[in-house]
């Protein structure tokens, strides 16, 4: 999960115009999302939230399966399966699902990450029962048609080229993950390694499907123009009789956090040849997993360094008379089992990469003293608030917000805890994290056409 949107909520009632205004009540109690939670006997969790502005709704299904669950030989299985989920099931057969959704005015798509596979649909409210029937059908009885499987393999290979081989940015991110998390389940590509994509069989994907596509590995969220009681009943009708996976809990629990710890004892510099005339780089330091209390100060730190024109990196590397970079950014990436802080950017042609790297390292440590102030923290909080409103402006935005918390923390109400944690972030917290993270071993990856 990237920088938490929850952070934005926590300042909803906070004064934003000056740093001296006081908050009169506990911020964690100031925002209350009204959500109906439904727990089915088979272990499935569903969240329902109403918004009657328009006769539409958004449905999100969060399956707790991603590249972290894959083994050598079947890398990319989660993502390949994501593609195949649109190819038909027993009741809604080959080529039917997309036509049914789009023919009614809806849209659908999915994405796969290291930790999760998410399917979503936006539809007119008249289609609620139909889409839930489709989702239940494909969870239980996916076709995995042989002919479609072969065709989709070619599509996935093309997607891989598009996202990695033909994209220096994708190449950079993949290089970072493979090196930072070498030897851990996060050290593979989400789309999969090419030999595995070429060799993976239908049977292997089917077994993988059976392991992870079950009601007790799913968090489902619906937001829109709904009758909550009626929606609950439909959910029970469609999903209530589906059998839970007897092994998925054990499967998930076998992935201990220790398996995901980066084994970075010394700093590393990695140069990758790519089709970029100017050097692109990412520099990363291992941190903490999603939900860890320290992560919230790291989120704030990343925004102070790299968000907005007044941020430290943009001010000191871009908006100067002789710019060193054309883009600079910083973020704290919180994954389910681990996390890392990173800084990245694209340099102006002619800048010496090694000189830049050394300068950046030095400056980052200096920022811990110069850039972290009461005002800079308040500024970040103000920005988060504005972003929150735009993030929750749609049914899909709220559904995603709730689902991510349910999947990662097992409770959508976790945002309350996050509110409190963000509320408590102080200058000394951020400085402490800053000093700590930048004194650790790092990994510096670059892509450039001048590299050998």
């Amino acid at each position: 999960m990237k920088l938490s949107l929850v952070l934005l909520i926590c300042f909803a009632l906070a004064a934003c115009s000056t740093k001296t205004e006081k908050r009169e009540k506990n911020l964690a109690d100031s925002i209350n999302l009204e959500v109906k939670e439904v727990k089915l006997k088979n272990g499935m969790t569903a969240l329902i939230a109403s918004n009657h502005k328009l006769p539409i709704f958004s449905l999100y299904l969060f399956y707790k399966v991603g590249s972290k669950n894959e083994k050598s030989g079947i890398t990319g299985a989660s993502h390949f399966l994501e593609h195949m989920m649109f190819k038909g099931a027993k009741k809604y057969g080959k080529g039917i699902i997309d036509f049914m959704i789009e023919g009614s005015g809806g849209s659908t798509n999915a994405y796969t990450t290291n930790d999760q596979t998410v399917y979503y649909e936006n539809l007119p409210v008249s289609q609620l029962e139909n889409i839930l029937d489709i989702e239940a059908d494909r969870m239980e009885n996916l076709l995995l048609d042989k002919e479609d499987f072969t065709k989709e393999r070619a599509v996935v290979l093309e997607e891989r080229k598009m996202r990695y081989e033909n994209s220096p940015r994708g190449q950079l991110y993949l290089g970072l993950m493979q090196n930072l998390y070498v030897g851990t389940p996060y050290g593979t590509s989400v789309i999969g390694e090419i030999p595995d994509l070429r060799s993976v069989t239908r049977d292997q994907i089917h077994k993988y499907f059976r392991r992870f596509y079950a009601p007790n590995n799913l968090s489902l969220v619906i937001v829109g123009d709904l009758d909550e009681n009626k929606t609950e009943q439909i959910l029970k009708d469609k999903f209530g009789e589906l059998k839970p996976s007897p092994t998925v809990k054990e499967d998930q629990e076998s992935l201990k956090d220790e398996l995901f710890v980066p084994k970075l004892k010394d700093s590393k510099v990695i140069a990758m040849k790519g089709e970029s005339p100017s050097p692109m780089f990412m520099m990363a330091w291992p941190t903490v997993k999603a939900g860890h209390p320290r992560g919230y100060a790291l989120d704030v730190l990343s925004s102070i360094l790299g968000s907005g024109k007044s941020s430290a990196l943009i001010n000191q590397y871009i908006l100067i008379p002789r710019p060193v970079a054309t883009s600079m950014y910083a973020a704290h990436q919180s994954l389910e089992k681990s996390g890392f802080f990173f800084v990245g950017g694209e340099l102006v042609k002619g800048i010496k990469l090694e000189d830049f790297r050394l300068d950046l390292q030095k400056k980052l440590m200096g920022y811990c003293q110069t850039e972290i102030t009461e005002r800079s923290i308040q500024k970040i909080k103000n920005n988060y608030l504005v972003d929150l409103y735009s993030g929750l402006d749609t049914n899909a935005g709220l559904a995603q917000f709730l689902g991510e918390r349910q999947l990662l923390f097992g409770d959508w109400r976790f945002y309350k805890k996050e509110l409190t944690l963000y509320e408590k972030v102080t200058v000394s917290d951020v400085r402490k994290e800053c000093m700590d993270v930048f004194s650790r071993p790092s990994i510096f990856v670059s892509v450039w056409d001048q590299h050998k």
Binding site: T108, S126, S167, P277, K309, P323, T326, N382, D393
Partner: protein, 449 residues
Amino acid sequence: MIKYLSAFLFLTATFAWADDSFLKSVKRMEWDDLKVVWIEDDKFPNFTASVYIQDGALGDSFPGVTQSMFDQLTSGTSKEGQRELAEFFDFYGANLKHTVTHEYSVFTVQALTKDINPVMGKVCELFKDAQFPESELQSYVSRAKSHLKNLVTSHSNLADRIFRKISLENTPYAQPAEGTLESYGKLSSSILKERLQEIKRAKKVLYIAGPKDVTGMEKTIAKCGWKNETALKRHELKRATGQSQIYLIPVPGANQAQIRIGRFMIRDEIGHKYDQFQFLAGFMGGSFTSKLVQELRVKRGLTYSAGAYVSIQRDYGRAGIITFSKTETTSEAIGIIRDVFGEVSNGKITPKEFSHQQGHEIGSYAFGFEEISAFIGQIMLYDHQGRNLSELVSFPERVAKMTPQELAESTLEVFPWEKQTVVVVGDKSLEKTLSRIRPVRVLNYQDFL
């Protein structure tokens, strides 16, 4: 399986959320001589203010002047430098954005409602007193040139840029709204100041969305120094001529080829066929079930995506297909697109395909009003095109009355193969296979930077 499909189509055919209730939230006002459109929205205590300016890249004396002017609007006033201005807007969490099209520009501000006056007040200071300091400008030029030189890393963006230039050749719309390596070197503070003055004189409409408090910005806006004097300069274009070549632009390290196929249309060709052309674009590409995605991806696995568009401004329109394929299957993909154009033009459209697209257009209609920025965008475009908002209300009804014959005619009008410009950005080895479709002209990508 068919019974389920039929059930869906029946539902979509009867689905009709199309009344004018949403228009009740749209109020038109005048603040002195400034036209204002307010969309009342009290979901959150924030606001969006978008000023539509009837002057865009067509008014540039050389490429990129308007875009650069807006890019540098916060680079300094006589009282404050770039850093102070950045600190001010960032502190309030104010989001400033701009879009420059050829015919118009849009400057947008988003912030919390309680901060309307300080934020909009500072925005007005920018319009009144932006100085475009040379030191900041040179830094900007250096970054912009570096960015352009690195455009070769994004074959898709490069293909879009080259396609515009080639497909609109010999029209005033051919030059990019962004600058070029050559034009960035010509920028100066005085040129940007002069352009700002022209922009201030151009006709404007202010679109605001938010709770009632947002109308309180009237007094602040009055200090922006905006005039409403000059209207869009109209251009009469000649019809696109026939195309006899494929343009191949080799790029290093390409294992896929970006494919752009399309053309520009003049006012007479567009007529009032907005709905028909929107329907055509949706039918051809974009969604999983669109014709080209089915033919290219689903049936043959030749690509990951295939988009189609027919975008219409006031005096011209552009229609096109955006896709990519492996180097070895690029020619096959182009051939299939050509065949699809031909077949649909000849009326080879099944009732199922047609009613599916009708269902899609009607059912998706309500989503255009969900996000406030999308809603503003729709109203603004209608206003720019000179259309009545009642057309927005009756769109589903009109789609329900469309016929396959109309779709075939639209395809013939928009996508006649002989008029399509074909641009391929990819490996140089493509020259041989592409020449089986049309003679190939090889161009250097650096000439388009």
